[in-house]
Symmetry: C2
Subunit: 309 residues, 2 copies
């Protein structure tokens, strides 16, 4: 607990304290009392600067002087670039050639040094290894890194500071960093709150991993929730296995309907990965009816010309 | 001023105090210091319950017992229905047969009693006259009514309570209710602030009305800003003529670009009519550069399956 407080104190100056929103319409529709922790309003449009900042802040002066490196085509690339820039550290970002132009541009704007690799994981890792060797930069994994996990959990901490006595807190599960961090902070600061993971039915590796007790992979990644296609890792899985109450899986239609509900009725833009967590509340009234439910809205980065509506 | 304060005091229990948002990205892009008064988060998704509530609250008990009637295909229909419901008053709403199903549904949900008329203004007025005669209900115009105008101005009042020393406050101009109310409150509580109207180039009746000194009509209404196709009225035009600094006109491309900026970068959904006011800030750096600018975001009611992106 002391350690997690220290994490929050060191991360806090580098992030926005995002709002916690309620909606009468959402409460009526779900029959629950729902509080959205809106990380779509976070710097870079997702929660990821929390973990990126914490990871860099835990490096030694010598490590910082050599920079950090990651490979990501998504929100972590921008988050690490911004966090590094704000701390005067170089960020080397390996992006696959398949990454959308808009994401490359964002990384560039935040001052990240981009290397384009081939699209496969092996090609990305090779490019990243090469940079590590040449520069001495420290590799920071987007989700399977204990400092990153701790940092991501600070969103849950802020939610618990603003509201107490949650029956449930829900977060989407992608690579496992956010859900593991949420588990750690909820367990430490609100032990009676149960943490629930939300996953697309089409990419239900975490659901299956909890059943089998080992990290399962995905055979298909056929989901609109582009941030949730990755699998759990060796550092976050034990935390998830220990603390997570259960995983609620939702269909693609349910994801899109929840996203549309939040956009149209609450007037905020959330990305499909976040809508997965909202869809979970709609999906399981047996679990959530008349309960106090926190939902981590993980981000709002969407190309509005390519919407699933 | 005393009167306007009284307006706010009587309206305030019936509305949300909506947030005033800032964005570093928007400030950088416009080179101004911009504060958005977010009426997209207002009840029914637009500022209109302010004026609707005020108009009903100013009726006598006898008038209230007979109900209110309006004709509207847009946000005012839902706003009057909700305001009436909350005050225990019947609301008769004439909607043209061309009104989208989703709007009829909203009015129904808020308890309005819907009459479908033919699509022309004459047909709508005839249906509304008939209801007045049969029920004794009081007609409340969506924008050309002094109580409605006063009520709409309370959004500006809340903005001025939260932030002071604005150089400019911008609101979109449709029927003229919002901009006239904004003029009244800005003039009373922040006389050094200039009020600017924003209009689509394609529907620039207010711009031409200010030049000619009489109410001009629109020959085309070819704009994405569906809330701004109406023209000024006899009650609001004199206020506008007296207090409005100028009208900034923006193209359809500029409206869509501003809307997209707010959706993608600020993560809130605003309707095209509101984007007109944001586009005005982008359009006129000569006016707004390094200035403190308030923008009334009038609403967020958009069918996300029919976006202009």
């Amino acid at each position: 607990m002391q350690n997690l407080l220290k994490v929050y104190q060191q991360v806090q100056p580098h992030i926005h304290k995002t709002p916690v929103l309620q909606s009468r319409l959402l409460n009526e529709a779900t029959q629950a009392s729902v509080f959205l922790k809106c990380e779509n309003f976070q710097k870079t449009g997702s929660y990821k600067p929390r973990g990126a900042s914490n990871a860099i802040l835990n490096l030694s002066e010598e490590q910082r002087s050599k920079g950090v490196v990651t490979h990501s085509s998504g929100n972590f690339a921008g988050a690490l670039s911004l966090a590094a820039k704000n701390l005067g550290v170089k960020a080397y970002i390996v992006m696959p050639s398949s990454a959308p132009e808009i994401k490359r541009k964002a990384v560039f704007e935040y001052g990240g040094i981009v290397t384009i690799s081939g699209p496969t994981l092996a090609e990305r890792e090779m490019a990243s290894d090469k940079i590590q060797k040449e520069t001495g930069a420290t590799f920071i994994h987007p989700s399977n890194d204990l400092d990153v996990i701790d940092g991501q959990g600070t969103a849950c901490y802020e939610l618990l500071q603003e509201e107490s006595n949650f029956d449930y807190i829900i977060a989407p599960i992608g690579g496992g960093g956010l859900i593991a961090g949420t588990c750690l902070f909820a367990n430490a600061f609100s032990p009676s709150t149960k943490v629930i993971g939300a996953e697309p039915l089409e990419v239900d590796d975490a659901y299956r991993s909890l059943i089998s007790g080992k990290i399962e992979t995905n055979e298909t990644t056929n989901t609109v929730a582009d941030g949730l296609k990755t699998q759990l890792g060796s550092h976050n899985f034990p935390i998830i296995l220990k603390h997570l109450e259960q995983v609620v899986r939702v269909s693609e239609d349910e994801i899109v309907a929840a996203m549309r509900f939040v956009w149209e009725r609450m007037k905020i833009t959330i990305e499909p990965s976040s809508a997965v967590a909202v869809a979970a509340v709609f999906k399981e009234p047996a679990l959530f009816k008349n309960k106090k439910v926190g939902v981590i809205i993980s981000g709002g980065n969407v190309d509005v010309t390519k919407l699933p509506f």
